[in-house]
């Protein structure tokens, strides 16, 4: 008998209607959710971009404001080399302030450099913490120290603390030494430079020595490496071998081993005029004092006026980081290197396309802007300076790597790479000056072309106000003898740059200053706004203050009296002792950066204004 099959209960399924309703609802919800989440993720991405950009903005503003607050040049107007400094107000005009606009139509070729001191302005909320930088022990081989013995090395530092490694005060002269030297120097003052390289904004900081000596020795000169630095022949910074017992020893590359401002000290024999090689010397906080001591001879070949005397202070462009220290009368900075096509258009380093320099006729300076050398580049063994007698600041053989935007000659250096990088993906870094000489004051690029209602050049920083030119008498024409390079154009010596300059009249060994040598215009700063004061004339009225043979003004129409708009004032006399002339200091600067958040592609612009007016002194 066949078995009775079990009775099956057929499970009840969804009806088609139920399915359709459910699926529709689920679909609706999914679409809704997808839409919501799509919007949300879009928003989140934008939010993240905005937040990232905000973060970058805060980083930028915090750091640069802190630097600007500590600027040593409190009264920003240029020195004018002259015979007396009574009215120079050196107390409030320490160090330098430098700003390069270069091409006013290019927002990526500006450079800003100035000196800072944390104790400049203690009344504000500025950052007074000291700055740290790398510093290794400098050992005199004559002392016979075993460089591989950390205790001996430490004891040597204790006995010879007057060097950057000792400036942080970490000196332990007793007991057994088990740790390693910290390799750090500390200072309250530094040179700071901001510049854009490719799409990276760099902040290069070079400390000025601030010696520390717990034994109360105030004598800290010479604040530099002694002549004939041992181990590498005369005038060279030498390696002290690699890493020994955890102590990082000198590599022989100065700016790999030291984050310090330094220059190669080159003197000249007064008789033979031939160079005497000394070696690298550190700048110290004394270098901020723009006084007239510390003069050195310099053979500034280009003008063929014999040996000149140049101050060692940082007011002199030659002594600053990034500037050409030899064979360039003006100490111009090396801000451009040859173009990617291999041409050099800016042969005179002034950052401006002069007549005859446009090799391909495209009306653009094709040279590549580098601003300053980065920490990576100066650490390279081929860089040399200031440890060795090389001159990258005067070289026309440097190439840019278009991918990394590093100077190719020094670009493969691995140490110190990116240490000075501040912000990435920057498309604009622009500095502007507050020009209150304009009918309606505003922030302008240096060398602007604003006019007043009558169409005349207006403002303190109009390009026509650049007086560092071949045009000795500023009449706007090349008079006989003025065209020094014979190119038929009035060239700017120092380019479209603002510089607080130096207070010393450069003299030759015979004691003749450049005015006496017929070259008064060679030492003019590029922009120097001045009012002639109540007497309407520069310097003392009726006195040829600077001795250039012109009393107060060039009498263009020869009528024996000054006619505004016709006769031309002798700008060299402005600010001479005893005058009622008044300088117009720079009142404010404006810094703008634009950067892109790489993931969200959001562009952010940050503009900060910094006042250079510091209340009542």
């Amino acid at each position: 008998m066949p078995r009775q099959p079990a009775k099956l209960t057929r499970p009840r399924g969804f009806t088609l209607l139920e399915m359709l309703v459910s699926v529709t609802l689920v679909l609706l919800i999914m679409i809704l959710m997808a839409e919501v989440f799509s919007m949300a993720s879009n928003t989140v991405s934008k939010q993240q971009g905005t937040a990232e950009n905000d973060q970058q903005a805060r980083t930028f503003t915090t750091i640069i404001r802190s630097d600007l607050e500590r600027m040593t040049m409190l009264e920003v107007y240029p020195f004018f080399p002259r015979s007396s400094g009574e009215e120079d107000d050196l107390e409030h005009r320490r160090g330098y302030f430098y700003y390069a606009e270069n091409d006013a139509g290019n927002q990526t070729d500006d450079a800003l450099a100035f000196t800072i001191d944390t104790f400049t302005n203690t009344t504000s909320n500025s950052d007074t913490s000291p700055m740290q930088g790398r510093a290794l022990v400098l050992v005199d081989p004559a002392a016979g120290v075993d460089l591989t013995d950390p205790v001996a090395l430490k004891n040597y530092l204790f006995a010879n603390p007057n060097q950057p490694e000792g400036d942080d005060g970490v000196l332990d002269g007793s007991g057994s030494f088990t740790g390693s030297l910290n390799g750090i120097g500390v200072s309250r003052a530094a040179e700071v430079a901001y510049f854009l390289r490719g799409s990276n904004l760099y902040r290069r900081v070079l400390l000025l020595r601030d010696p520390y000596d717990p034994r109360g020795t105030t004598e800290f000169t010479p604040p530099f490496i002694d002549e004939d630095y041992p181990g590498a022949g005369a005038g060279q910074y030498a390696p002290t071998s690699g890493v020994v017992n955890g102590n990082v020893m000198g590599t022989g590359e100065f700016w790999r081993d030291f984050d310090y401002s330094a220059y190669y000290y080159l003197d000249y024999d007064s008789g033979t005029m031939s160079p005497v090689f000394h070696g690298p010397r550190f700048h110290s906080i004394q270098s901020l004092d723009n006084n007239r001591s510390n003069i050195t001879r310099q053979n500034l070949l280009s003008q063929n006026v014999g040996l000149l005397q140049v101050p060692l202070s940082l007011s002199t462009p030659h002594r600053r980081f990034g500037h050409n220290y030899r064979d360039d009368f003006f100490g111009r900075p090396k801000e451009f290197i040859r173009s990617l096509a291999g041409t050099v258009e800016d042969a005179n380093f002034n950052g401006v396309l002069d007549n005859g320099e446009d090799s391909n006729g495209n009306n653009t300076l094709d040279d590549e802007f580098i601003g300053r050398f980065t920490a990576q580049e100066t650490a390279h063994s081929a860089f040399g300076y200031p440890g060795r007698f090389t001159n990258p600041f005067g070289s026309n053989a440097l190439n840019l790597n278009p991918d990394t935007f590093a100077v190719q000659n020094y670009g493969n250096e691995l140490s110190r790479r990116g240490e000075d990088l501040l912000i990435t993906n920057v498309v604009e870094f622009d500095v502007k000056l507050w020009d209150d000489g304009l009918p309606t004051p505003k922030f302008v690029d240096l060398g602007h072309s604003e006019t007043d209602s009558a169409g005349n050049p207006a403002g303190f920083y109009h390009r026509d106000r650049n007086i560092s030119t071949e045009d000795v008498n500023l009449n706007g024409a090349l008079d006989p003898g003025e065209d020094l390079n014979g190119n038929g154009q009035i060239d700017l010596f120092y380019g479209n740059r603002y510089d607080t300059w130096y207070p010393l009249t450069i003299q030759n060994s015979a004691g003749d200053d450049l005015t006496a040598l017929g070259l008064p215009h060679l030492q003019r700063p590029p922009y120097r706004p001045y009012s002639p004061g109540e007497d309407g004339l520069p310097g003392r009225a009726g006195v040829d203050d600077d001795g250039n043979g012109v009393t107060d003004y060039y009498d263009v129409n020869g009528n024996g009296s000054y006619d505004p708009g016709i006769d031309i004032l002798d700008v060299n006399e402005f600010g001479y002792p005893g005058t009622d002339d008044i300088p117009y200091p720079l009142k404010a600067i404006q810094l703008t950066i634009r950067f892109v958040d790489p993931s969200s592609k959001l562009i952010r612009q940050v503009t900060i204004v910094h006042s250079l007016v510091h209340g009542q002194h």
Partner: protein
Amino acid sequence: MTRHTLHPATPTPTRSGSTLTEVLISVMVIGIGAVSVATLFPLSVMRAVRANQLTQGTILRYNAEEQMETQGLNSYWMFVVEPFGFGNVGNTPWTSPHHYPGAVGDDNGNLFRDNIGWHPGPDGYFGVPGAAPGTPQAEPGYSDNSYVSDDIPILDEFEVRFAGRDSSLIVIDPLGWWLVGDIDPANLNLRNTFGANWPAGYTVIPRLNGGFRGNNSYSASNPRVRPTFIGDYFDSGSGTFVRFDIPAATTSGNANDGNLDFGGWGFNRQVAERIATLPDQYSTLLDTLYADVADIATITTRDELLLPNKLPVNVLADPIGIILAGLEVRATFFGIQGTATTNKRVTYTRSLLHEDANGNGALDPGEDIDNDGVLDVMTTTSRLMKLRSDQPLPANFQIERITLQTQLSDFTWMATARLPSRPPTQPQIDVVVFHKRRFETIDERPYVATQVAGSKKVYTIDYSATAPVKPWAKKGGFMFDMEHGYWFLITNMSESGTTITVTLERDVRDVPFGPADDLTEIIACFPRGIVDVFPLGAK
């Protein structure tokens, strides 16, 4: 062979399907969850927007402080001397190379920076009238056997000017100075007064424009000196603050003669905007990949850019319209520079030019921005974008992406300053940062706020007199005490009839250096759009 019979499958237990009701309930539950998750997003967006506003606001606050310092507006000296209305910085400039933002001269050319404690008195001179600057006779308060100065010590005068208050108020409001007055032409005095319709018996708050004080043109007897002052001054004759008369620009002489004459300093709306806005906000009019529209887009010359027809006309009409209206449009070009082997990615930024400012079709003096002797114009019918001829794009530059942007003035500031009665106390300044500020009189309309008994932080405002116009009090907004110059964050707000009750973040008596009385009744206003109020530290 036994044939196995397949056993039937074990009967499965009955499974019932979900009912529609169950499905609907599930969907509802999911929906509620999803909605509640989704509501978090706008919340986070709002927080992010707020964070961004605060970041921008903080940057602007610092800029405002620096701008005020540049103009000498944050100095005690500035305020203490300004009410006397010495219209000109002196004819005799100071001889020190320092620049003193608060340096002041009298109408007759005497500088009295160092003599800040004195008013020159009715004769308008310090010491002996006409005494040579620098001589003892020109010193303030100079008296000898034959001459007694009428100079007045400044403290007495100052207290008189400010009605003997412990502190007095000034509002520094460059944009408001222009815009609030503009909006309400019948109330042009709003330029010089913060707040309209003041109740009787109260001293109005002067509004200063933060502008520039000029001087006459240069001459041998009237040398150019530096402007350092805000553009308003207190006219002791009429007892009001009045606008400083800006002198006309003058022509300069030979551009190269080193004689840096220039036109008189002006203050206009553009200057006000430069001073008081954050310049980082842009409205993007056009953002396009150049390759997308490369069919027609060409650079005709290096200083002209013909935008492609493919772009919608209205996109183009807007920037051109704006240019014609006198605003700047910023063009940013992203692209590649160089040849194939030596190219690099670069960005150029240029302004679009429209030089015919007065629309007369001629190149008038001052219009030739790029100094090329040619009138560069754009019209609403042309796609030709003019760049400055002295700032062309380089020849080997290939454009990839273009953006056209015009600047927005979203973030703006004004400042309120409580002035000390005696030196050397510095003024206490609050910078108020706005987002999309409304320059309307209602934002600064004074209302009487009455303290609720028993609380020092709850006030009621009866606006029946102005109903239906009511104060813009809201939670998270600010109340400004127009008598004493303090800002209070509103943490709560309720409304009943024509009475608004606000709860303040802090007890009115807790304000540092605030008024001594209990403030049972204060005059207050409720401006809209405030991002935050930043008190400035002492510099």
